[in-house]
Amino acid sequence: MEHLKPRPVRRLPIDPATPPAAAPAPASFAGAARRRAPASTFAVDRMQVDHVSIAYAGKPAVRDVSLPIRQGEVLALIGPSGCGKTTLLRSLNRLTELTRTATLEGAITLDGTEIARFEPTALRRRVTMVFQQPNPFPMSVFDNVAYVLREQAARRPRRRALEEKVREVLAHAGLLDEVADDLDHPALRLSGGQQQRLCIARALAAEPEVLLLDEPCSALDPQSTQVIEDLIVKLRDEVAVVIVTHNLQQAHRIADRVAFMYLGELVEYGTANQVFGSPREQRTKDYVSGAFG
């Protein structure tokens, strides 16, 4: 019996005399696509992050970050993996508290009130969140929204009383046309993009002031991504939107303000055009040009 021999590894010819070409300077953001939205016309401060440091079991994840979160603008948190952007996002509705070892210093305020003074459940209805993986609850489309509209584990108000409100919320998230015929459809049988819009609908059903999005498109195809990006831009006038993204093009397409974080620090905060077009910091320049990431 003849045995398979491993094939020789193909190697690209490398001429040691010529060093690899240097990365082009980020004069403008190279991969930038057309922006989805015109610049926002008004913005009002809703949340204020004030010298916030977060550590897990003493190991710092976010160091001394201060920034405003404003309604009328989309704020994108960008940075390489492990830079603390998701931790910062989760601290905005106190989800970090679910991790026992997490400690937070500094203050975060919502409309002038420190969020530590809120009941967590009350705060989380005002600052809702959408996650990376589409995670509709294992029930019908209707019930996914109705669950949020009802008090805690209550079964009332009954379906008929909620029907109108549920349709309104689904329309708000741009999902109604696709599910209107069958609101009893199991949510987990929707497509990934539809599931994620249902999750956004769910988050909007609580009528929040701030919407947090943790890489909401990273599990989706480009078309679903586009639909959700349009939705996010549309929502910015009624809720303050904070989005964590790995995708620089996405940040450029939808964000009005960009915060670049690196190793837990807030390196640069500014308008999208400024951060991508003429970054002040060298680290930002390197990151947005793709030198590391």
Binding site: R124, T128, F131, Q133, P134, P138, Y147, A153, A203, A205
Partner: protein
């Protein structure tokens, strides 16, 4: 010879193995087929014997004392007893097991207490049922619990009744229920819980409205497996339910009287009628064993279906 991308048959590949590896592979196949053959022969033997001896009237006639096949009646009482004991035991084991499973999976605080509870449930799973039965006599023969079984005039308590048997049998089903509930809950990704917290829901609301519905297939699987184990147990029935093949109620109250009294289940009916048993009516034993096997097989198939159903609708990871 094979090119990359072409599917290579396992036999072709093992042909290039060392002799020792090939012998190992052959031995693995042999053992696997042997166990299949053993399991199949038990089931097929019982099927053949059962189908030969099982007759409709056996299901509707009570057992009777006698020496011939025609005079010993059927297994109506044991069949009913099996379901009574199973339902009663699960009525205890299911809510308790559900509670323990949810607590261990979702709360688990204080930590040392949770670990202790976990160890206890594991120990319970490994406990021989005859030990549980013996312990049951200790409890149910105490005068304070005399109202659950037969009480003789001088204060002596009989300690054998459906109540006593079902209570101790519930300990057999408990570990299965706890394990299934925990497994079902722990298969739910953490971000699903957080999604519920992130719209302002409490832990309790999340558990009731999101997590338990999501874990329902596992919970039902636990229920079915527990029921199957309970109705298959013999030691506790012999010791705590007694060996009267017919229901022997206590007092005049219809249902309560029966539950306070002694009786039998299919397992003790088989035990009694086996060729080595007191009754020695092997054909009846085969018929009853066949019925018991069918019930347990149906439960296992049902549990399997629910487990699969649980896997069908899942979150992408």
């Amino acid at each position: 010879m094979s090119t990359p991308g072409q599917r290579v048959d396992a036999r072709d590949r093992s042909a290039s193995w060392k002799l020792r590896d090939r012998a190992g592979l052959g031995f693995a196949w042999f053992l696997g087929l042997l166990f299949c053959a053993i399991a199949a022969s038990i089931v097929i033997y019982l099927l053949v014997q059962g189908l030969r001896y099982v007759r409709p009237e056996l299901f509707v006639t009570q057992p009777a004392a006698g020496f011939t096949e025609s005079s010993t009646g059927g297994f109506l009482d044991p069949l009913l007893g099996t379901f009574i004991v199973g339902l009663m035991a699960m009525a205890i084991a299911f809510p308790v097991g559900l509670g323990i499973g949810v607590w261990l999976s979702e709360y688990g605080r204080p930590f040392p207490l949770a670990r202790a509870a976990e160890a206890c449930v594991e120990m319970l799973a490994g406990l021989p049922s005859i030990v549980l039965a013996l312990f049951g006599t200790l409890i149910f023969q105490s005068p304070a619990l005399g109202f659950l079984s037969r009480q003789v005039g001088n204060g002596l308590v009989f300690g054998r009744s459906f109540f006593a048997a079902a209570t101790m049998l519930s300990f057999i089903a408990l570990p299965l229920v706890v394990a299934s509930v925990r497994e079902g809950l722990q298969a739910i990704p953490g971000h699903v819980r957080e999604a519920s917290y992130a719209v302002g829901k409490t832990r309790i609301a999340t558990t009731r409205r999101v997590l338990l519905p999501a874990a329902r297939p596992s919970v039902i699987t636990g229920l079915m497996l527990g029921f199957g184990r309970v109705i298959g147990d013999t030691a506790i029935i012999v010791v705590l339910l007694g060996a009267t093949l017919r229901f022997d109620g206590v007092g005049g109250v219809p249902v309560l009287g029966t539950l306070r009294g002694t009786g039998s289940t299919l397992t003790t009916y088989v035990f009694d009628n086996a060729p080595t048993g007191e009754g020695n009516q092997p054909t009846k034993a085969y018929a009853a064993a066949f019925v018991l096997l069918m019930i347990v097989l149906a439960l296992n198939v049902g549990a399997d279906i629910f487990t699969r159903k649980g896997r069908a609708l899942r979150w992408s990871t």
